[in-house]
């Protein structure tokens, strides 16, 4: 069975600094996709970044980048130059026909 594990229930970072959120997963599939979703207090689910497992190059979206280690089944999210608006719950997710979510990491950006 596919599983997604986020081992950091909560994290905090100072504004303008860099923070890394961890995610590990398990799947027997060879081709799959990984995602990070952001859920701010409004509870809207917002796609942050997507990684295709068959691509070795790490995905980047502006201040957001991932460190994808396929052999280790690790998919961490790095947020650079953290902003107050980055405060949210962050979910790591894996495709299995539908999305399988991790339990989430609550990120607080402090001024």
């Amino acid at each position: 069975a596919q599983t997604v594990t986020q081992s950091q229930p909560e994290m905090s970072v100072q504004e303008a600094e860099t923070v890394t959120l961890s995610c590990t997963y398990d799947t027997s599939e060879n081709n799959y996709y990984l995602f990070w979703y952001k859920q701010p207090p409004s509870r809207q689910m917002i796609l942050v970044i997507r990684q295709e497992a068959y691509k070795q190059q790490n995905a980047t979206e502006n201040r957001f980048s991932v460190n994808f280690q396929k052999a280790a089944k690790s998919f961490s999210l790095k947020i650079s130059d953290s902003q107050l608006g980055d405060t949210a719950m962050y979910f790591c997710a894996l495709t299995q026909g539908n999305l399988i979510f991790g339990k989430g990491t609550k990120l607080s950006v402090k001024p």
Binding site: Y33, M45, R50, G97, K103
Partner: protein
């Protein structure tokens, strides 16, 4: 750009009542997914539809049913509501049955259901 529309935004029901949640996908999107997110929990997959046919089923209780209509909108029908059904219900849409190929999933703002 048009997004996924869910209605109502908030719904309050009594135990044992019924509720119907509606989802209007992004235009041209033919695949709809329903997720349930309890307080402080991660979203749990309930059910999905592709081209008006059920494509996958998750942890959806037997008291719930859903369908996708000819205009691709979907409705989640919930009967004999229980206190534990109180949650945020998300609908999401994507284009094509190739979700496993990594098509982006777009979420609506959710319907907050409170069962009293």
């Amino acid at each position: 750009a048009a997004g996924v529309i869910q209605s109502p935004r908030h719904l309050i029901k009594e135990k044992r009542e019924t509720a119907t949640l509606k989802c209007y996908p992004i235009p041209r999107h033919d695949t709809v997914y329903w997720y349930q997110q309890g307080p402080g929990q991660d979203p749990q997959f309930l059910i999905s539809f592709y081209e008006k046919m059920q494509s996958d089923k998750g942890s959806i209780p037997d008291r719930f049913s859903a369908q996708q209509f000819s205009d691709y909108h979907s409705e989640l029908n919930m009967s004999s509501l229980e206190l534990g059904d109180s949650a945020l219900y998300f609908c999401a849409s994507s284009l094509g049955s190739s979700w496993g190929a990594g098509e982006k999933l777009f979420f609506g703002s959710g319907t907050q259901l409170s069962v009293l």
